[in-house]
């Protein structure tokens, strides 16, 4: 039992090392993932920003949380893509016939997704700083923000795993993320929900992105996140558990 456990960690670290190499060798994916959210940020701040009334005096501060979620939503489509390619190529079968932990390959991809999305998030925050983003929050609120983003990444990564494992084509493996990328538009990420028509507003206020955006915004501006943070956590954990169960079920069926 002890050695199985030790092997499990060896397996995962080998898998992580492998897919991190994939990421480092295709840095263009990080650029692709970050370029659209950064373009959005530029567009909203310098073109539409003047016309949008948010009540906040710094629109970059207002915008950043939603932009980060967009980046993560497009980042996880690469996780689906990488998983899909592994399954299509023989390498998946090679791993499956070796006496290694069954789920190590999947966990390797999940950890890699966390790391690569963290890189994207840092890149975008740096750009935001150049554009005038400021936060006076201390270490704890920042850690809380990191935690929420990590949880959000995990939740979407398991959704991506379902797509990557069950897709029949490359396009199918990544297409699922398009609606996710646009969810922030119908939320309080860019404009306050008060300005929206009733039906849209009801949707916007009750979808996961809004509560996550509101919590991060509050944490970064030194305010109390209040109820939002619990709603945000509930969404992330809920999506993660459901997606995890489905992904694992599909994964086991493949073997």
């Amino acid at each position: 039992m002890e050695t199985t456990k030790k092997h499990f960690f060896i397996d995962i670290s080998v898998m992580l090392g492998r897919s991190m190499r994939h990421i480092i060798r295709s840095m263009d994916t990080i650029i692709t993932v970050t370029i659209t959210p950064i373009a959005m940020m530029l567009l909203f701040v310098y073109v539409f920003g003047g016309a949008i009334q948010t009540g906040a005096d710094n629109y970059v501060n207002y915008l950043l949380p939603g932009i980060l979620l967009m980046a993560i939503a497009s980042g996880i489509s690469y996780t689906a893509f990488r998983l899909f390619t592994d399954v299509q190529r023989g390498i998946f079968e090679r791993f499956q016939t070796m006496p290694i932990s069954r789920s190590a390959l999947l966990w390797g991809h999940v950890l890699t997704s966390l790391v690569s999305n963290a890189i994207s998030v840092v890149v975008i925050i740096l750009v935001a700083l150049l554009m005038g983003f400021r936060s006076s929050s201390g270490v704890l609120p920042w850690l809380a923000v990191a935690g929420i983003l990590a949880l959000f990444t995990l939740a979407l990564t398991w959704v991506a795993a379902i797509a990557g494992l069950s897709a029949k084509t490359v396009d199918g493996a990544s297409a699922f993320s398009y609606p996710l990328i646009f969810l922030p538009f119908i939320s309080s990420a860019f404009v306050p929900t008060e300005s929206m028509p009733t039906v849209v507003r009801v949707f916007a206020e009750n979808q996961p992105v809004t509560s996550i955006v509101e919590s991060i915004r509050a944490l970064l501006s030194g305010q109390q996140a209040g109820n939002d943070i619990w709603i945000a956590l509930a969404w992330c954990v809920g999506i993660m558990i459901v997606a995890y169960i489905f992904a694992m079920r599909i994964y086991k069926k493949r073997v």
Binding site: I10, V14, R21, R25, E93, R94, T97, M98, P99
Partner: protein, 259 residues
Amino acid sequence: MQTVQTAQAKSILVKGLQKSYKQLQVLKDVNFEVEKGSIFALLGSNGAGKTTVVKILTTLLKPDGGTAAINGFDVSSQPDHVRQRISLTGQFAAVDEVLTGRENLIMIAKLRYLQNPRQVADNMLTRFGLTDAADRRVSTYSGGMRRRLDIALSIIGNPQIIFLDEPTTGLDPEARIEVWKIVKELANGGTTVFLTTQYLEEAEQLADRIAILHEGRIIANGTLQELKLRFPAAKVEYVEKQPTLEEIFLAIIGKQEGK
């Protein structure tokens, strides 16, 4: 007790194996055994079900009926024991294209929990003539180099039984002869080799025993000599040379279909 004993003496023991994909019944009743340390070739035309047999034996696919045992361990109920003893070189090279050859080898050596993965990788690179290309990405390798790396990955950690699914398909004659050499060396070292092929010449060259899979059944199984004896006598009159396996193959299949 006695059955267990004989079962353990065989590297591979397959009885009444069945497998269907939806309506398509690929394996109807497949039976054969493979002795330890021998080279066994499974011959069959496209779509005969060779890969399906390999996938079942390597725990990738569950059979619908019948049993298959590797060194006495059942593939369905004891897959972990089976995986400890086998290694698969699939029909399509299972290498990581983004990594270099060396990185591929080190990765597998680590997953086999070997003491010194770098050393193992170096030895393999030398043994398979890949030292010069060691630090190039595999995506730049030729088909033959890729296949050699693929086989090298499979024999890391000295598995007792190695499965090679059409190891030389798509290779030029030179690369093919090189793979044959590797396979012979493996068998000389005591490894049991199970290979599938469409090339009759390959089976003729390598195999101690040859089985022909056709329409879901093994329609012939034996040494090359035994198969030659099954060659229809009438035809011998027309050919002066020894019948090649190709002729035997076609003759046997023809007889089956004639029935």
